[in-house]
């Protein structure tokens, strides 16, 4: 794989226009230029749209990134200065977006306490508790039937709102920015308990209110003290006061009904003297806390080694079994025979079916009492309930899911293999096994070894299969957090998201640990794969 890339790079090098007269290029014709500038115009239009959104939301970093990316694209495609970049820039941008950014974000998250209850900023948390928090209704206070209006003749799109209200006693009231007063209009129509018309006011329709929804949500009629008349929807209002008040000087939140003072402590509002915290808390940096938590966590310590060993075994055996079966079938079907094409197509079927459906079907086939496997074979194996059988079941299912891919790439590699080498060996009197061992397999490994490494890395984190087939189980009776078929990724998913809500910071820290393990394993196996390649070349 590497060789191909390098050869291409070299051919680009030698073809550099500096040493040769410029060649006529395709795409330089009138139509080509037109298409190119149309595409650039589209990109610019999208970028301008994106910038207008990010600026409106005051996301300055996002704005800078969009501008920089757009400039890079325009500079590359509108000029002839960066020809090689024309081929690379889409890939580079996509890699930055989908690979590099998530990595940085994962690292960033690992140093925060991001989790359920700690997802917003402190300002948002204060706002959520105080302004948007509970409103204590006056005991035995009236509810008012509400009609929303503006002064007659005023523009309904900008004029201040007034509330026309009817209390339980049937008296009509007026609520505006000043407060509540009796509705003093000569001709008030009350129908069905609601004011439907009043002289001097024009009643707003749903559409008119909807056009000003943000403004309307913020409007309330002030009363004495902290109290106000608030609306519920469009047709009801009541008098009440917010329950919690923020004191900026002492950085505390005070409960106005009970007098409890909540202190900002460890990203939560904790009542003085301890007790249940006030939700929500906020997100903040916690340094290396998440990493120490991983290293000192009891359940992690007790189960980590066992899970890691099984994880390596699972990934290794999955690659080995799928490769062995795939190669065997590819070898058998590499010879011309009747039904070759049909058989090949049939063998690809498991690969063509959605994997998660296959996994669920297999899960039901493994059922001890009602499953197809035990019913057909007359066995009484507790496939998914026994520690070892569950592992076998997983490997068998993964073999079914994975062998068509191996079959596919082995077939491809075999067909591109020069036949003269094997023919020469046969002429020299080598047995078929000897030909396979000494010629076919080494040649095959050259092109396939990197795929095997990639497959290992994938299966190392094959969360989907575990989750759909066993959910990590069976679990020992004394430890519900580490199952017999758990991989590191499914195990940490349970730790971080399974129980105590979503602990993003903790999960990010664990995934960095897993990343280190997989990186070490992959780098060492890639080195071996490359050594193999060099031996062959």
């Amino acid at each position: 794989m590497m060789t191909i890339i390098e050869e291409r790079a070299e051919s680009v090098d030698t073809a550099r226009p500096a040493s040769r007269p410029p060649r006529p290029r395709t795409g330089n014709g009138g139509l080509g230029v037109l298409v190119r500038y149309l595409m650039l115009a589209v990109i610019l239009a999208v970028a301008i749209q994106a910038v207008s959104v990010t600026v409106a939301n005051e996301q300055w970093w996002a704005t800078a990134i969009v501008v920089a990316a757009t400039l890079a694209v325009v500079a590359t495609y509108a000029t002839r200065k960066f020809v090689p970049l024309k081929y690379l820039i889409p890939g580079i941008l996509l890699m930055l977006m989908f690979q590099i950014y998530p990595v940085f974000y994962t690292f960033y998250t690992a140093f925060t306490n991001a989790s359920d209850g700690h997802t917003i900023s402190k300002e948002e948390s204060i706002e959520a508790i105080t302004v948007n928090g509970p409103i204590v209704e006056e005991p035995d206070a009236d509810r008012y039937a509400l009609t929303v209006a503006v002064a007659d003749g005023a523009d309904p799109a900008v004029a201040p709102f007034v509330y026309l209200m009817v209390g339980a006693d049937g008296a009509a009231l007026l609520g505006d920015e000043e407060g509540v007063s009796p509705l003093d209009a000569p001709d008030v129509t009350v129908e069905g308990g609601k004011v439907t018309a009043a002289d001097g006011y024009s009643v707003l329709s749903g559409v008119q209110i909807n056009d000003r929804s943000g403004e309307f949500d913020a409007f309330s009629v002030p009363l004495q003290g902290d109290k106000a008349v608030k609306k519920i929807g469009l047709s009801e209002a009541f008098a009440g006061a917010v329950q919690y008040r923020y004191d900026a000087e002492t950085d505390t939140i005070i409960d106005s009904t009970s007098g409890t003072v909540y202190i900002a402590d460890n990203a939560s509002w904790v009542p003085e003297g301890g007790g249940a915290t006030l939700a929500p808390g906020w997100k903040q940096f916690v340094g290396f806390d998440n990493f120490t938590k991983v290293l000192t966590n009891d359940t992690v310590r007790n189960s980590f080694v066992g899970i890691l060993l099984w994880n390596i075994a699972f990934a290794g055996l999955s690659v080995l079994t799928t490769f062995a079966l795939g190669l065997l079938l590819a070898l058998v079907l590499n010879r011309k025979m009747i039904g070759q094409r049909a058989t090949r197509s049939l063998l690809l079927l498991p690969y063509a079916l959605p994997g998660f459906i296959t996994a669920l079907v297999w899960a039901s086939m493994y059922n001890k009492d009602f499953g197809l496997i035990n019913n057909l074979t007359g066995l009484d194996v507790n496939w998914l309930g026994d520690v070892w059988w569950a592992k076998v079941a997983l490997l068998v299912t993964n073999l079914w899911l994975g062998f068509p891919y191996m079959f596919l790439i082995c077939t491809g590699a075999l067909q591109s293999m020069p036949a003269n080498l094997t023919e020469a060996a046969i002429v020299d009197g080598a047995s078929p096994w000897r030909v396979f061992r000494s010629i076919t397999l080494p040649l095959l490994m050259t092109s396939i070894a990197p795929m095997l490494v990639a497959s290992f890395a994938f299966n190392f984190n094959n969360f989907t299969l575990i989750f759909l087939l066993t959910e990590g189980g069976p679990f020992p009776a004394d430890n519900p957090s580490a199952g017999a078929t758990d991989l590191l990724i499914s195990y940490t998913y349970r730790l971080a998201f399974g129980g105590a809500g979503s602990q993003f910071g903790f999960a990010a820290a664990i995934s960095i640990f897993i990343f280190i393990i997989v990186a070490i394993l992959s780098i060492s196996s890639f080195r071996r794969a490359i050594a193999l390649e060099e031996v062959n070349s």
Partner: protein
């Protein structure tokens, strides 16, 4: 040539990081292809409601008539997959809906993440609902949602095999065992357990045998500090349940995928399930009756009662209309509630509407009467850490593990996770 390994290791690192960062999906590798996980974004309408695929269809006509009445556009967006997690993420990044419709046990988590607003319902309106519905919508003494339907498990009985309602669990087992011995059915009871347990379905048996999960305060609310798993009552209850497993009444082979079909095909005379099973049973044409799950001896089985409700997003772009729809349009009006819960096939949360439903629909009456005996699914966030260890402990005990030590391990895990989360 010497630089190659470095380049390769660089690529390997990128590949690996990519695998981790993109939730382990990858291309060109032999494995289940990952589903598209594109996050849903708020639809372009004045008022947007998010709910599960299952509930979207029934909500649509109500949303449409509300939109017509007020001259605004209303859209019901069905969200596939993890509705709640998707909702929290979308809401916190300003792309969420105005209204969320889901079951009550989500409330604690939603409040914790500043995703829903408290409501001020009038005393009259609160009085119109069934008590259990209001309790389920209450968190930290605040009402957060408008309840509309009640969900709980009950006992489904095949009336062809067993005409009379069993008064106790012992009677149920005896009757069922006779049918198994006679060869008319294969199993006594279809109750989904699965390899990893199902504490929601097992709860009526656990409480019916005297066990308890959380203690209750004087006012009937749960006390999250009083975890009852290790109590002698709970251990005794799980020992009783293990006894049923030893008789073959409960089995880890019966799970969510096959439990309903076992009953529908007449292979079991009894099933513990909820309103979601009714459609399949009607299709299969089996004759059944729904009653409360009986307790052991004189005990009362208390299933978890989940209440479906409507909540207003704390980041709603159109709060007033959202409030109008939730509290006044759906609200507690009997006719609306009747139509609404008829569409959902569940008992209504409005008392008067439930009374009228019960008169005409035996299934809803059976489910509702069973729910009256139940306890609301706890809403406090600590409950989230209970389901998984409890279910696994129950599965292990049904599979033969020692009840006392297994429950102790589950309780220890739950306490540890509650501590971790704080």
């Amino acid at each position: 040539m010497r630089h190659r390994p470095h380049l390769a290791s660089g690529l390997a690192v990128f590949a690996v990081v990519g695998l981790l960062a993109t939730g382990c999906s990858s291309s060109g590798t032999p494995a289940p292809k990952a589903e598209s996980t594109e996050a849903p974004v708020r639809a372009d309408a004045d008022l947007v409601i998010w709910t599960s695929q299952e509930h979207a269809a029934m909500l649509k006509p109500f949303a449409a008539s509300f939109g017509e009445e007020n001259g605004i556009s209303v859209e019901v967006q069905p969200i596939s997959g993890e509705l709640r997690a998707t909702y929290v993420t979308a809401t916190n990044s300003g792309k969420g809906p105005d209204i969320l419709m889901t079951a009550s046990d989500a409330i604690g988590n939603l409040v914790q993440n500043d995703a829903i607003d408290p409501l001020n319902l009038s005393a009259d309106q609160l009085a119109a609902y069934q008590g259990v519905a209001v309790n389920a919508m209450t968190y930290n003494e605040q009402v957060y949602g408008v309840p509309y339907a009640i969900d709980n498990v009950a006992l489904f009985r095949n009336t062809d095999f067993v005409p009379a309602v069993p008064a106790t669990m012992e009677e149920l087992v005896t009757t069922g065992q006779q049918l198994v011995d006679a060869g008319s059915v294969e199993n006594v009871l279809s109750l989904p357990v699965g390899q990893n347990g199902d504490s929601y379905h097992l709860q009526p048996l656990f409480t019916g045998a005297g066990g308890y999960l959380f203690g209750t305060n004087a006012d009937g609310t749960y006390n999250p500090d009083d975890l009852g798993l290790e109590s002698p009552e709970s251990i005794a209850a799980m020992t009783t349940i293990q006894g049923l497993a030893n008789q073959g009444v409960l089995s880890t082979s019966i799970d969510a995928d096959n439990s309903i079909s076992l009953f529908a095909e007449g292979k079991t005379p009894f099933m513990v399930s909820g309103g979601w099973a009714i459609e399949a049973l009607k299709e299969a044409g089996v004759n059944y009756e729904i009653t409360a799950v009986p307790g052991f001896g004189g005990g009362t089985a208390k299933p978890f009662v989940g209440v479906q409700g409507l909540y207003i997003s704390s980041k709603a772009t159109n709060k007033s209309f959202a409030q109008e729809f939730v509290t006044n349009f759906i609200g507690s009006d009997v006719d609306t509630s009747l139509a609404f819960s008829a569409a959902s096939g569940r008992p209504s949360a409005v008392t008067e509407a439930f009374v009228q439903q019960s008169a005409t629909d035996a299934d809803i009456k059976g489910l509702g009467d069973a729910g009256v005996l139940g306890q609301p699914s706890p809403t406090f966030p600590a409950m989230a850490v209970v389901w998984d260890p409890l279910s696994k402990a129950e599965a292990a005990i049904i599979g033969g593990a020692d009840p006392a030590s297994t429950l102790a391990a589950a309780a220890a895990t739950i306490r540890q996770q509650i501590a971790d989360a704080n």
